[in-house]
Symmetry: D2
Subunit: 308 residues, 4 copies
């Protein structure tokens, strides 16, 4: 937690009788830079690791006495997905991001949002121009993701064309505003790479659900950067909850009913060929599902390396 | 704000960089007694009047500069039901109430709840026994409300019979626990007057919506006492938001389309007879709606007193 | 209900034991054209006017017998904002609209959405190009709206520049796809006028809330066209609910607490000067609020025309 | 699907252009008896297995063409918890259950509810009296559950005492109503075993989430009976979705990060002693978690039977 970003103004120390989190306090007003013009910083928060315990003890009353420690209780709750005590904490962020990222983000409906409005105010001239290193090919296997990089000439060409689009459409936008065209119409030629910003408030349980989805490798790389920024803050703000979240969700592995049955009915390890043949049968000849299963088995060392 | 209840332990002063509300700070941990064994107190909160302004200014950007003051902006937002900035504040209460009150309360689905569990823990021997003064007759006009009081003998009889039920069922409950009957079954003979408790967390917009419904004279008297306790706290915690809520919601009056038309097409005041006849026509002979309309007109002084 | 649009394929008549609405049946699969490339059509629905009554009678049991008719009960429920029975109906639409419209729409969080994904699939070359008649100036009074039209040269110029943006950015998009750039990146230069589409499902209560906000003159003209298309369908699908919604919400008028007090404490009509002076005092010198109040009074005929 | 309960009146066959489910049609209006006086029946529904596919194809467009079949697509969506297409179906039930069951049920906040109101209407004299066979001891290991049965004398005693409570409190309730005591007060002496009823409407995704929690052995036995009734209906109504739900959720098995690591870093099977010692270390000496892990390993046959 050394080397936090510089704090912006307006976060002055005062007194309160509310529970606080030392880790969260340090992040208040310290923006983490994301992508070329974006950021995330913590604006306000409510609660700390103990707030989860406090809420759980109301529910379970004397029943929780057996769980000796706060850490043990938090981990127990998370392990069994008793999620309501995690709803008792709130985090409020100020975020700035390209519109196409905001469009993915807003699908999480359990949060509160106040977004910058292009009807009331002028849009900025900031657009997301991807780094060369992330300008990559369409993935074959994963219909929605990226694969290896394009060649350098292509990468440069992508940035050049996008820049041309941004420059031209923003010049037109300025011309529209000079004509006094209604702002709500003037902005419709601006691209989804244009930056917007919002205040975003969410409880800890729903934030963890958001992060489980948006830290995943299937999430678009750009929104993942925002998820990682918030994860960094959470890790300091609620270290015990975060560790439980990592152990029981982020790093958990799941086997379906049919997979479970095949695991149970056989001796491991087995050869790739046998595993493949058997899995294909168990999983109704579904090629994709079979490959996913074998990846899990291989990772566990349950597949014998196929030596000659 | 003098004479607050004594604060319970665990609300010690520490430092924070978060925004605070002086009014809310004073209420932290100070239980307001409600009914015979219940209470409400503020456990935690996030934000103050300025948090509404801060969120609105993110949305409207430069567009809000014209509204000169924070008070003016908050009132403008509430007047036009731009409610999202009010979602940026949170309040967390510890509440203890009879189960039948909890059952009405929980219908507000936008809150977070951790309730005491009779499966994990023993239910207390506290039951709600109404004061003599609130033991009243079924209302005739209002299908769900109360009317004048029963006579004193009847009132005493009600308390006597309820007490008998409480005592007997709780004695049975104890006997069940002594047999080691599962707690989740042992409690099913206890009445809905038995007290439960919970942590309840909600944002300011949804809390105001809750209060608009539960401060209303159509709400059951018992839950209204809880609403009034929370209203007392809010009034201190967010005085500007509260005043706007009072002016634009609690004390607002509404006329339907047909009522509006009748108001517009006539000269006021008019006689009760004329108003009644006309309203009945405009409102499709609906007796109840006509009476409600006339009450509003009478209150406005738009009905001439029918002197002989 | 004559002259419905032609039904698309796949809506064949079969048998069911579910309640149906004749009005809704006629709209199934009949797209209403909106803007230049958009549409709205009804994909599926659950329930009809009677479903509201049925649900209310479960709640109120014998208590509802006094309300003699179904129409009377529905109107009573809507008048008193007993909204849960209206949640018992669902409507599912297929909608196609510009991204900037989708961004306003999605802020209604109580709906279910499946949107076309630019990560999985190619975006179409359709962009919203406003009709000359709606290309208008920024409104002065209303920070977010439009006012009178721009002059014809300016209007033509707006369409010309927008078209240039659309053409260029879409050509670049095609070039990106030809390079095999990941679709999720290729689309970021496309503007918020690009069309997207989704399935959108919502219950009747929340749909009415959506419409109350999006039929309002403060909503952006473009999203209002979608609201009006859905209103047309609802009017046929649940005629009794719709009429109650019109009478008690769309056409209702509201006076704040201070306005109510001024209405009550004076004799009407009065002169504009007197009304203005008094209102300004009652409303704490708030110019904007005073003007809004006077508009309501004037509309009611409560202000004397100021003849010499 | 033979031997369905008799259909109640009011579910007559008519024509519709909406998608239908043959399995769901058969269950419309056929009450499944639950507990001693309760029931569940399907009142209405929207959509079928194909509705999931239809919604997904809007999202993924051409991107879904690769998944050759509808069954394959539904299973793919469920496997990867792409849950929004499952929100596109709705089910509406009429349910009658003891108040203590309703109190657990209502914690699922994403459903729509219209409940019978004891303020408007008289409560019935029906109370839940458990069968002898389910009158069991408090579980030791599971703080919230039941264990082996009480002895027959105790079981009889439980029913006797509960009956006495029910009879007495209901007699008092009748006496209160005869006095014309307000219904909202008269009912407060009735126990949480008193039956209530409601209309309950929910989308398929949230219904599955409800069932995953309420079919679980940790759910109270009584609410599980309601979950099983609804599961029976769903299995017929959306057979493909149901099978995917069973395979990927109900019968899935999950290993935490630390468990995963221990699985990967060792050769299986191993002795109970070794597994226990190692797990205790990996799981930070948490006894309970270690036992849960060993249960999973034992079930998989990864623990050697400790023969002498």
């Amino acid at each position: 937690m050394t080397g936090l970003p510089r704090r912006i103004n307006g976060f002055n120390e005062i007194k309160t009788r509310r529970p606080a989190s030392r880790g969260a306090e340090r992040w208040l007003g310290c923006p983490i830079k994301v992508l070329d013009h974006g950021f995330v910083y913590l604006v306000d928060y409510m609660g700390n690791d103990d707030s989860v315990v406090q809420a759980a003890r109301v529910s379970y009353g004397e029943g929780t006495k057996k769980v000796s420690t706060n850490v043990g209780l938090i981990r127990y709750l998370r392990r069994h997905m008793h999620t309501t005590p995690f709803e008792m904490l709130e985090f409020k962020f100020h975020c700035k991001m390209p519109i196409f990222v905001a469009r993915q983000w807003v699908r999480h409906r359990t949060a509160n949002i106040n977004e910058y409005s292009g009807r009331y105010s002028e849009m900025s001239d900031e657009f997301y121009l991807p780094d060369l290193s992330v300008i990559a090919k369409q993935s074959g296997g994963n219909r929605q993701g990226r694969d290896e990089e394009l060649n350098p000439e292509q990468q440069a060409r992508v940035r050049e064309l996008l820049s041309a689009d941004y420059t031209q459409s923003y010049a037109h936008y300025r011309e529209f505003l000079d004509m006094n065209l209604a702002r709500e119409l003037a902005r419709i030629g601006l691209s989804v790479a244009n930056y917007t910003q919002w205040y975003w408030k969410i409880d800890l349980h729903n934030l963890m659900h958001f992060l489980a989805l948006r830290l995943d490798e299937h999430a678009q790389w750009e929104i993942r950067q925002y998820a990682e920024a918030m994860a960094r803050i959470l890790k300091d703000a609620v270290p015990v909850c975060w560790k439980a979240f990592e152990d029981y969700q982020l790093n958990a592995i799941r086997f379906s009913g049919p997979e479970h049955k095949m695991l149970r009915d056989n001796r491991w390890p087995m050869s790739r060929e046998d595993a493949y043949r058997m899995a294909l049968t168990v999983l109704n000849q579904n090629q994709r599902e079979t490959n996913e299963f074998l990846d899990k088995l291989y990772d566990l060392g349950f597949i014998l390396s196929s030596t000659g």
